[in-house]
Symmetry: C2
Subunit: 198 residues, 2 copies
């Protein structure tokens, strides 16, 4: 009985990811991946056209896992403000994990720059849409009042992106959470001093 | 009677800037700048060590003019919220002007990348400090209430930097002002819907 194609592709991804993380991308060959999978090299090429293709698929799967995790956290949060906070925290933690994945792959990833940049652009669009979605639901709920949802979403996404590099490198998860708490409060309540509460 | 050194340096800058803008940097020589100044080439080198040095001085002067303009606008604005808005608007207009200066110089400015990047890093630090200063005065006045001035200043600076490229290219000054109005309101009042006013 032969396993379905999709299932085999998944198994190859899992194996490739494991080998990339253990030895570094440049030191893993398609031959070794085939051997580890107990399949012929030509069978492997039947599923992925080369190491670059496989690497791309591994990263896309990482990105997909990250998006699912973020979406689950946003879904779970109860209020619109909590959803914003959950988005920011999980997005930053995911970036931190992704940075660790890159370190594990020990690759000069600039070689893959065009491809990484494409993934990044996709994520940037996804981020603006996701934040805009949370804001829109908040307005519909009557929790938020926003002059321009688009501008606000882009501002939030831009600020988060600007912080991510330093944070992923130099902050613990607790520090990231604390900063995100402050930023979410900043966005929701602003900086004007007022006597009354919302 | 010989003019003081500083005055001559200023006159050379003005002349160089004019020639750079008219012909493009790569097509202007130190010889031509000397001729336009009615001074010998060796005298010119007495003031600036070369075209690169002169170009750098021209840009530093532009940057200085921009900072003065921004500071005057911030000083003139009456309330802390108005100061934030004035900072953002003048900062964005200055970037738009700077982009036009680059177009006028018609230079492949990537050749000067290290130098431009240094100027940019200086400006980034200046921006965070300036915004932090406005926030700090607002807190001292009792107008603002801010959990972390540093984090807030970096968030504002990061968002502004993220917007600048698209805005400088695609927006009119009126559109920039309208967006900055919304962003300043976002920062001051937040997005929470409330019945009472600050």
């Amino acid at each position: 009985v032969s396993r379905p194609r999709q299932e085999i592709r998944e198994a190859i991804l899992t194996t490739a990811r494991k080998l990339f993380a253990r030895y570094g991308i440049s030191r893993v060959t398609m031959n070794e991946i085939a051997r580890e999978m107990r399949m012929g090299k030509s069978s492997l090429y039947h599923y992925y056209s080369g190491k670059e293709d496989l690497f791309q698929a591994v990263l896309e799967k990482e990105a997909q896992i990250f998006r699912s995790r973020i979406e689950a956290a946003v879904e779970e949060a109860s209020s619109p403000a909590e959803k914003l906070r959950a988005y920011g925290i999980n997005r930053m933690k995911s970036i931190k994990d992704l940075a660790n994945v890159f370190v594990a792959f020990r690759d000069d990833y600039l070689r893959h720059y065009a491809f990484i940049r494409r993934l990044r652009e996709q994520y940037d669009r996804y981020e603006v849409e996701t934040v805009a979605g949370i804001l829109r639901r908040g307005v519909a709920d009557g929790a938020f009042s926003i002059a321009s949802i688009e501008l606000t979403a882009v501002a939030v996404a831009t600020a988060l992106k600007g912080f991510e590099y330093d944070w992923a490198i130099s902050m613990t998860e607790e520090e990231i959470e604390r900063n995100l708490d402050m930023l979410a409060d900043l966005l929701v309540n602003g900086i004007a001093r007022r006597e009354c509460s919302p």
